[in-house]
C-alpha cells in the first residue's frame, strides 16, 4: 500500500468510476477522490487537503463541467500555496477535441499534459512511470 493520492474532477460519473478502477488496477493508488465539478474540487484542496500526507498527488481535470468548469478551476488553483502545487501533477482529461482548448491548456504552466478521452490503461502506465516516484 503506497502513499499516493489521485483526484479526479469530472461531471461524468461513469468516467470517474472507470478511471478509479484503472488507477487501482495499475497500482498507482487505492486512495482516489472524485469530484463532479471544479467548485467541489477546489473546496477540498483548500480545506481538507494536506500535501504532507502524500508522497505523490495526481490530479485529472475535465474542462466542460457545470458550476465551475476546468478553466475557472485553474484560476482558483493558481491562488493556492506553492507547496500544494509543487506536490500536485495536474493533467487535463477531456473529451474536447477543440484545438483552441488544447493550445490553451498547453500554455498553462500547471498543466503537464492534455489527455483526450477515452482514458486507457496504457496512458495511465506511462503517467505512472514518469510522475510517480
Amino acid at each position: 500500500m503506497n502513499n499516493n493520492l489521485v483526484i479526479i474532477i469530472d461531471d461524468d460519473s461513469i468516467n470517474n468510476k472507470i478511471c478509479s478502477i484503472y488507477i487501482k488496477k495499475t497500482g498507482i493508488s487505492e486512495n482516489i477522490k472524485c469530484f463532479l465539478n471544479g467548485d467541489e474540487g477546489i473546496k477540498y484542496l483548500i480545506s481538507d487537503f494536506n500535501p504532507e500526507n502524500f508522497s505523490n498527488v495526481l490530479l485529472f481535470l475535465d474542462l466542460n463541467m457545470p458550476v465551475m468548469n476546468g478553466w475557472e478551476f485553474l484560476e482558483e488553483y493558481d491562488k493556492l500555496s506553492e507547496s500544494y502545487k509543487q506536490k500536485i501533477s495536474l493533467f487535463i482529461l477531456s473529451s474536447s477535441i477543440d484545438e483552441r482548448d488544447i493550445a490553451k491548456a498547453s500554455d498553462n504552466i500547471y498543466v503537464i499534459d492534455f489527455i483526450s478521452k477515452p482514458f486507457t490503461p496504457n496512458i495511465l502506465s506511462s503517467i505512472k512511470e514518469k510522475h510517480v516516484k
Binding site: 461531471d11 461524468d12 460519473s13 461513469i14 478502477i21 463532479l36 457545470p66 473529451s95 478521452k117 477515452p118
Partner: protein
Amino acid sequence: MSIENVKKHVKFLNIFILFITALIILISIYVWNEIEKTEDVLILEKGKFHNVYLLGKLQTSLIDIRMSNINYFYSKNEVFLRKFDSVNTVINNILSELKEKNSNNTDDLIIIKEIKSKIDEHYSDLNFINSNVNNNIRIDSIYRNISTNLINTKDLIEDYLNAENTEIIKLYDSYTIFKNKENSITILFIILFILLIILFYYQNNYLNKIRSYEVRLENQNKKLNSVIYGNLDAIYVLTVVKSKTNGIIDFKISDVNLKACEQVKLKRNELIDKNVNELLKISNANDFVNICKSVFENQTAHEREYSLKNENDSTVWFQQQIIPTSDGVIVFNRNITKRKLEKEKIISLNKQLNELNINKDELISILAHDLRSPVSGISELLNLILEDYDTISDEELKDYIKTASKTSSEAFNLLENLLEWTRIKTGKKQFEPVIFDVKPEINKVVDLFEINLMNKKIHLINKSGKHYVNADKNSFNTILRNLISNAVKFTGVNGEISIETFEKDKNLFISVKDSGTGISSDKISLLFSNEIKSTLGTNNEKGTGYGLLICKELIEKSGGQLYVESKPNEGSIFKFSLPIFVINQK
C-alpha cells in the same frame, strides 16, 4: 444601304438631273435659233427669187429692144414705147415691193433705183426719137447711143444678179451645214432623254426607299408611343432647361404617361412643360435633379431604389431608371413595395431558417457528445466486468452494474425525450384525444419513481382527485413524468413532493410542488429558451435539457398552459392546466 447613304445618293442624283435638264434646255435654245435662221433664209430666198425673176425678165426685154432692126424701130416706134412702159411698170412694182417690205437691204434699193433712172433716160430718149421721127435727123446716132446705154443697163442688172446669187449661195451653205448637224443633235437629244429617264428611275427607287423608311419610322414611333403610354411603369420624358450662362439648371417635363399622372396625382396638362424643381415637393428633389444632370452629362443610365412616405404614412418603395436621350432624360418609376415586402419576408424567413439550422447543428453536436460518454462508459465498464469476472467481489460487481444501469437509463431517457421532441417539432406526433380520468394515470406515473424516491428518502404526497379531461394520454404521461422527474432531481434527501389537482374556470390544474433547490427569478425566463442547458440534480442526476421544453409544447398543444413559481432554496411549483371535459355537455 443606310438611310444617310440613300439621302446622299438622292442629293447627287438631283444635281445630275438638274445639270442634264439645263443641258437639254441649252441645246433646245441653240436648235431654236438655228431653225429661226433657216426660216429667215427661206423667206429671203423667196423674195430674192421673185426680184431676180422680174429683173431677168427686164433684161430679156432690154436685149430684145437692142436687137431690134433699126427700120423696125422706125416703123414700130410706138411698140417700143409700150415695151418701155411695161418695163417701167415692173421696176415700179419692184420698188414698191421693196419699200413695202421695209427691207434693210438698201443695196438692192439703190441698184433698182439706178436701173430705174437708166430706164427713165431710155424712155425720154425714145420719146425724143418718136417726136422727130419724120425729120430723119441724127436718129442713127441717137439710136446708137440708146443701144450702147441699153447694153450698160443690161450689164448693170447682170452684175446685180450675180451678186445676189453669191449671197443666196452663202446662206444656203450655212443652211446645209445646219441640216448636216441635225442628225447628231437628234442622237444627243435621245441619249440625254434616256439618261434622264434612267436617272428618274433611280431617283424614284431611292425615294421609295426613303418613303418605306419613313413608314417604318412611323410604325416604330407608334410602337414607341404604345410602349410609353401603355407602360405599367410611370414614365416621364424630361428635357434639359439650359440657362445662357450656367448650363443645365433644371429639367422640363415634355411628356408623361397615364401611370405617371396617377403617381403624382396631377393631370397631364398640369405636368407638361412644367419644371421638375417646381413640381417636386419631396425632400430629395435636389438629389433627383442632380442624378438627372449627371445621367445627361455622362450619357450613362442610372438605376436606384428609394422610398417615400405616402399620405397614410406607410412606406412606398420605388425602383427608378434614368436613361439619357439627346436632349434630356427619360425616367421610369416602378412601384416595388409589394416585391420589397416579400423580399423582406423572405429574408427574415431565411434568417429564421438559418438560426434554426444552426440550432439544429448545435443540438446534434451536443447530443453526440452527451451520448458518447455514457455509451462508451457502459461499454468499458462491461468489458472490465468480463475481464475481472473471476477476481471481482460481489459487492464490487453490484456497484459496477448499478453504475452502468444508472448511466444507461439516463442515456435512454435522453433519447426518449429527443425522440418526443423531434416528433412534436416535425408534426409527426399523433394527438389522439380521449376522455379519461386523471387520477389513475397520475398514480401510474408516480409508481415509476418508487425506487428514486426511496433512494433519496423523499416523501411524496399524492392529493389527486377524480377529474375527466379530453386529451392525449401519452402526452399527459410524458408531461407528468418530466415534472415529477424534475422535482425528484432537485429535491434533497428527506425532502417532500406533493401533487395536487383542482378545477378553476373550466380548467383542470395539476401542480407538482417540491421542497428542492428552487430557481432564481432570472433563470426562470431561461427555462424555456432554445438554449439547452441541463443542470445537475441534488444527487448529480443528469438531465437532457429538453424536459421542460417538451412539457410546454405538449401542454400548449393540448390547449393548456404551464406556470412556474419558484424561490431559491425554498422549492418550486410547476403547474399546468388542461380543459375539463364536462360530461353533461355531450
